[in-house]
Symmetry: C2
Subunit: 312 residues, 2 copies
Amino acid sequence: MELINKMLEGDKRSCAKLISIIENDEKGGEKIVKEIYPMTGNAHVIGITGPPGGGKSTLTDKLIKHLRKKDKKIGVIAVDPTSPFSGGAILGDRIRMNDHALDPDVFIRSMGTRGYLGGLSKQTRNAVKVLDAYGCDYIFIETVGVGQSEVDIVKAADTVVMVMVPGLGDDIQSIKAGIMEIGDIFAVNKSDLMGSQRTATEIKMMLDLSENLDRRPPVVMVTANRNENIDKLVEEIDAHIAYMEETGNLEKRRRSNFEDELLNLVEIEIKKLIKEKTEADGGIKTYAHQLLSRDIDPYTIRDEILEKINLK
Amino acid sequence: MELINKMLEGDKRSCAKLISIIENDEKGGEKIVKEIYPMTGNAHVIGITGPPGGGKSTLTDKLIKHLRKKDKKIGVIAVDPTSPFSGGAILGDRIRMNDHALDPDVFIRSMGTRGYLGGLSKQTRNAVKVLDAYGCDYIFIETVGVGQSEVDIVKAADTVVMVMVPGLGDDIQSIKAGIMEIGDIFAVNKSDLMGSQRTATEIKMMLDLSENLDRRPPVVMVTANRNENIDKLVEEIDAHIAYMEETGNLEKRRRSNFEDELLNLVEIEIKKLIKEKTEADGGIKTYAHQLLSRDIDPYTIRDEILEKINLK
């Protein structure tokens, strides 16, 4: 494929076009992934996540600037939590990242969740593959939010940086419980704000309580908008990947991520198949109608659907 | 089933036991749902959601107290965003709800996300069915977070109350974009805090920009911890359901929720089937290993898995 050859030679526009195909055209995306797949596996993929209000975009921006000084090639996929109902992505403060628009060695793309029906992690993963083949040394996947979908997305990463921030209110306890074990590194951002030291201490305490951590995640205080301690965070990121490589954990994690990826791909196909096979009977709508009238229970209908696709 | 009969007679402990079975024993849960299903469909199910730090539990608590004065029977399912990796639920400030422990007409249950593998919305929905058959007039589903899983959960509701709060920082713009269209009612909580009026105005402006809303969601200022304006919020909840019934939208929404429920049930079975059918070859792990070594690409393996379960 012409576009792939040009992308492999370092053409940024071709890279952008390939990712657009992945976003918009399923069959085309599949073809691209099949072709570039052997050229992937070299990038260090880093998830940047954490509760809203943490300043993740500013932090990513500073990480890029720092790594560019070391002449590293960088890719960023910023995942926007667009409404699953309406479409339309809001880029928010990601617009700041425009600073890098003219740099051929920084590639940034926002991806929205609209229309993917569980396919966002597929799209994200495939875009990461393109950036990997494009030769990026570091690929950042940035997400907003703390739900299951964010967990799924950062699962595509080798290293997860959890960005925390002081003063998130009561719910912080339960947020922490939910994310404590997916963070490889904790960055307490806006550490010039009151309460940041306390937040760091709380995180450390929760980490002390966590069992089955084979490596205690470091907690780094940063102030992204003042560019403070970004070098320290980069050191920790590099230390994490070095540790993962030495211990064989990198292979283990990537294998486990691949398991998720495969299940996700299969699931998407099966959803399509169900749609196809139930269409003649009025589709899933007819079944929902029977549920509404309480004629049949959900489990009996489930079994009927499984029969339709010959799985029962 | 003895437990079901006792629950239908109003025994709270039997109701609790049934929900525990649903949480812990898949086959048992299926049997319960099949049996109680014809007795469901009478409760008004209300999702309480919104970004962290909004004081949702306090608000739910005040809603319960208000509705109890009107002699309504209440159920609450509080969904904890527990780590998908470790298990262990943190109840956080839900402990406050213990006030209602002795009231036979208030049933509160926390459900964690641990171990469900995409099954949380199934468990939540089934617990709602039990509370519905138990005779609850209102059932609240409370979630923390703004991710896809939270959206899935509130999709089980007739009415969604989106709890907003002043001062959530930069990310609020993108959060809003993500949740604007799932809120039927917006409650700006902690409206004694600075900036609450601005938050309300911002929400109204975003609602003005939203297309295809058949009903403009009201924005209610509340201060849950001072019990201010809870009556107004309850009025809006009742007005919403009345509107939904009159327009036929309630039926439409429930049907669409049922479609999601059915797809979710089918998905869970198929995941089990894949596990079973690939076991002889070393399971999905073997496939992941081939991906790691770049021997085959993900799409080719996906097709192999589909073949294994006779879907290709």
